[in-house]
Symmetry: C2
Subunit: 342 residues, 2 copies
């Protein structure tokens, strides 16, 4: 059976409907883009095919991530930055990622309301992405949505993460530039801030700058920046003050984004950094395809289903069974076959 027949409904003309969707997206139809984002969210079987097709059209947009603790004012800041980007006539996509920290639930809803005033603007597309079943899935999905936005023709893509855990850091890492937004009350946590966070920040923002302790926090952060080793770059991480709800300090942030983008584009090491990102992306694709192929085996292969039955026995040793799996030539042919989809 042909891959296209297996993976998707076909239109009356015989062309798979997802290719039709892709065509409509590429001609600028937002509804088609929205449907493809949903396909990524639902992990539809034709997504790898879509990604392969759009890939040559990507790499054109500039993306930045915005992260920080809950209540730091990230969404208000993003809202003001959208306005600046739109003033220049650029199209902007926003991916509001909610790694489903169950204790900060509801945050995304409020955020989306805050950005609502842009909802009717043709040049703005806001989309939230929720929990995925397994670790890593959300970060992969975010990367794929970014590439869809890129292929659609967005000039700028903003990735806002609501939470602050490992998953969120993985996500922000997908962007060209990372903004870390703090508030004066974060002072204590700055003292104990992990080296990992210092290294991901390309720009620090101390928002709600009218509150006590803002200046002290800026100088603390500057001190920490001075002490941090930024291995492969000579970018000097700036620490900026803002009051996003008063629209204060936004122009400076916008300008620093531009400087970092320019630095990123022209820096001698930027080629190396991009190569590293591509390499990691490739390894992720291989891992993901392997898991998808296992899911296919589960659907279609009697022998693999027997392996799974065996594993579920009380006295089974899954490590041993995994070893036999990789010694089994039949599975080698299945996983590496030219058939079997994907």
């Amino acid at each position: 059976m042909q891959e296209s027949d297996k993976n998707a409904m076909s239109t009356r003309s015989g062309e798979p409907s997802y290719l039709n969707l892709l065509e409509r997206m590429q001609s600028g139809e937002k509804l088609a883009l929205a449907k493809l984002v949903t396909s990524v969210e639902n992990d539809a079987p034709f997504v790898p095919e879509i990604m392969e097709r759009i890939y040559p059209k990507t790499g054109k947009c500039y993306s930045f991530g915005v992260t920080g603790p809950p209540g730091a004012g990230k969404s208000t800041l993003v809202d003001k930055l959208i306005a600046r980007i739109r003033e220049r006539g650029q199209a902007v996509g926003v991916i509001a990622v909610d790694p489903s920290s169950p204790f900060s639930g509801g945050a995304v809803l409020g955020d989306r309301i805050r950005m609502q005033r842009h909802a009717l603007d043709e040049g703005v597309f806001i989309r939230s992405l929720g929990t995925r079943g397994t670790g890593g899935g959300l970060s992969r999905a975010t990367g794929e949505v970014l590439r869809l936005f890129d292929a659609f023709g967005m000039d700028v893509v903003i990735i806002e993460t609501v939470g602050v855990g490992q998953t969120e850091l993985d996500i922000v890492d997908i962007a060209d530039t990372t903004l870390v937004v703090l508030v004066p009350e974060s002072g204590d946590t700055v003292q104990t801030m992990k080296a990992g966070l210092m290294e991901i920040a390309d720009i620090f923002i101390v928002n709600k700058a009218d509150r006590d302790g803002a200046e002290k926090m800026v100088s603390d952060l500057k001190g920490m920046v001075a002490l941090t080793e930024y291995g492969d770059t000579d970018w000097k991480v700036p620490v900026l003050l803002s009051q996003a709800n008063q629209d204060l300090g936004i122009d400076e942030i916008y300008e620093e984004l531009g400087s970092h983008k320019a630095h990123f584009d022209t820096h001698t090491n930027s080629g190396e950094r991009k190569a590293k990102i591509r390499r990691r992306h490739f390894m992720e694709i291989l891992g993901y395809r392997f898991l998808k192929k296992l899911e296919n085996l589960e659907q279609e292969d009697e022998r693999f289903r027997n392996y799974l039955k065996q594993v579920q026995q009380e006295d089974a040793n899954p490590y041993q069974i995994a070893k036999s799996f990789f010694q089994d030539e039949d599975f080698a042919r299945e996983i590496f076959g030219t058939g079997g989809g994907l």
Copy 2:
């Protein structure tokens, strides 16, 4: 070359040193256990071999996870529960997982100090586990440390997570029972609490019960529990009050843990639940081994290195290259070969 030669230093007798370590661990040597935990943390190449060997000795301990927002008093509660478990003469292991939410940095240090009074107790082993490079790695490592503790002979293993994101939920999910610890101030978040959290909680604790709003919170939670569908179990999720720092309410929690364990052991669906866990574990092992085999290829295979070089070209399409990889019979032989380690 033999796998054992390749993967580890050998002792003078020719036996790989990790097998010696395993033997010492199995004879009750804590230092050997500590070294094996470190091997899991560092992702040492012989870990799958160790896991395969200890697996038949696992499945005997009872494990519970403790999660909740920062400041809920999780570590104090764990400290008091350790005391109860020790009063019964049972050996207990604690895995304090820090998914490295950079904004809650330093929490683990304080927690470990709080549990310090047990550090000299022969029947207690406390270990923290930090960030892993990629999403999913921390949850896998936690599962493997749990199995090491189990094989070592721990009667009870407690998995405490500091953060509250997706990664943390994956981790807690490894345990037999999950305690979700909240405080009266969490009231607002309870209103917006995700269904996902409701479903993972086997027991709710409202800690710091002397504070305003504790009773209201208990009744809110009870209301939500009543409305939640717990598909495959008829366990009634209790909502308990505690003041861990005053040692109040701890006996009730300890008792409910026992009830849930008994329920879990005897419930008609517990076999099904265990089979599901084993199946997921097996799929994880397959995915992990696949990634390890790719790392080996990168070290040893010229052709794979050429694929990686190709991917890093400006105009490369990683999706297309991934497709060719899986159509390449040479790689099928490498990945599924009987040689090549693992």
